[in-house]
């Protein structure tokens, strides 16, 4: 491994291509932590946006009209406003309104950090799209299947949980993949509120080492690699869960 790192040091010396994240242990650690933070943030947002999608799609099926309207308004709002402004709204406006807590050293510190707000804001953003996607999936479930479940004595809730949703999930997998990929790309916005994710640490490194060109390129390829790996994985999942008799 050391020889590989040394090769990058040579690359810097001989050709002026300064990829400090490879030969400098400190930068390497920073970059790696940034990468992990991006993955952690992505995972958190993916899981919670799916949960929001599930709950929202369920509430949209409800007979209680205000619940349906509330979900509709939620989707309208989050789909049609800029994610960056949403993020600032949550972090500065909502986060600023919450009472401050005293931390270990007695200093007043905000109740939640930037990672928390990035996760909340991006999950709601992704979740709003997931509700729509799941709803389209639920609409694609054949009426006869629901009726069959009804005649077997399933309750409305059971039908949603055990019959309609699992089928809808498989119908909507393709649209869901697109949204999930989009969500992972959107995590780079967390840079704006100082979450130490991939873009943020890269910006730190290029301002320390003055190797903007190299770092930007590495960053771009890191993201494309990350998203590419995800697209590939989701594609396999899509194929594995493909419903026989539908699509090609």
């Amino acid at each position: 491994m050391e020889t590989v790192w040394e090769w990058f040091r040579w690359l810097d010396k001989a050709h002026g291509i300064d990829l400090s994240v490879f030969y400098d242990a400190g930068d390497r650690h920073r970059f790696l932590m940034g990468f992990l933070t991006t993955i952690l943030l992505s995972m958190t947002c993916l899981v919670s946006s799916l949960a929001i999608g599930f709950i929202g799609a369920w509430a949209q099926q409800s007979r209680f009209r205000p619940a349906r309207l509330a979900v509709g308004a939620f989707i309208q709002f989050f789909r049609n406003t800029p994610p960056l402004v949403q993020l600032y709204f949550f972090y500065f406006a909502i986060g600023g309104m919450l009472p401050k807590l005293a931390d270990a050293s007695g200093m007043a510190s905000p109740m939640f950090g930037s990672f928390f707000w990035a996760a909340v804001s991006l999950s709601l953003f992704g979740g709003a799209f997931n509700i729509e996607i799941f709803r389209a999936g639920i609409e694609a479930v054949p009426r006869a299947t629901i009726e069959a479940a009804e005649s077997l004595g399933f309750s409305k809730g059971q039908i949603f949980r055990l019959v309609a949703f699992p089928l809808a999930l498989r119908f909507s997998l393709r649209a869901l993949n697109n949204n999930m990929v989009n969500l992972v790309k959107t995590t780079s916005l967390a840079y704006a509120i100082g979450v130490p994710e991939l873009l943020y640490v890269s910006a730190q490194i290029w301002s320390d080492q003055l190797n903007t060109r190299e770092m930007m390129t590495l960053l771009l390829f890191s993201y494309v690699g990350l998203v590419g790996a995800m697209v590939w994985g989701m594609h396999r999942l899509e194929r594995a869960l493909r419903m026989p008799g539908y699509g090609q």
Binding site: G72, Q76, F77, N80, V85, Y88, T212
Partner: protein, 258 residues
Amino acid sequence: MILSPSRRWLLFLLLASFALSLPHEALAAPGQPGILASLLKWTPLIFKGFLLNLLASVLSMALGSLLGAFLGLAQISPNRFVAKSAWAVTQFFRNAPWLVLLFYTVLLIPFEIRISGGSIPLPDTAKAILGLALPVMGNVSEIVRGAVQSVPSGQWESAQALAFTRRQTLWMIILPQCLKRMLPPWMNLYAVLTMATPLISIVGVEEAMTMTRAALAAENRSELLVPMYGMLLVWFYLYCAPIAAWTKRLEKRFGVKA
């Protein structure tokens, strides 16, 4: 425009939250203007920034669509090498985060270009517009490819039987049929782009987001945070929601899925 129930509800919520913030007017410390007065005071400045957002969205869309159309046509080229490389370029720009592409163009393009003595200055705004145009290009390319491939192959074959050349077939038979299919996803992309324009504030363009933050910094009053950011959200909503609604109507009419 007739409002859908959920949109009416959202409007109600917004008005209600606005009404709830009004009692603060009475609570404002003596000698300090109320929230409404402060909002009104900053509105012209922030709105000017908002117009820059819209201008950037239109210019990026125009540039991105132009580049994307060529890239998309290259993707369906009979030349395998051209098709493969266009595919790779498309995937690259589609899969890279918008903000990262924006940083890339703004930080790495020089502030002026020298051509035979004369120099063309490149302000940050121009570079930011180019930065937003790149992901638009990737997405438009995919829209074009998808639309062309959705035309039944019988159309190609009958054109060939009528002795149309490939270029004639594409321009006179295939593309006119595609336009209808491309419109909804293209409009959707425009809405997404408009909602991405606040990103250019991060790279130093003075648009609505920058202005809002500057106004908040100047006022330095925490009770203004929610109304100010809220106002910006409402503006974007009012601009983007009708586009989204229109897109949905077109999708239904043309029977295409986004």
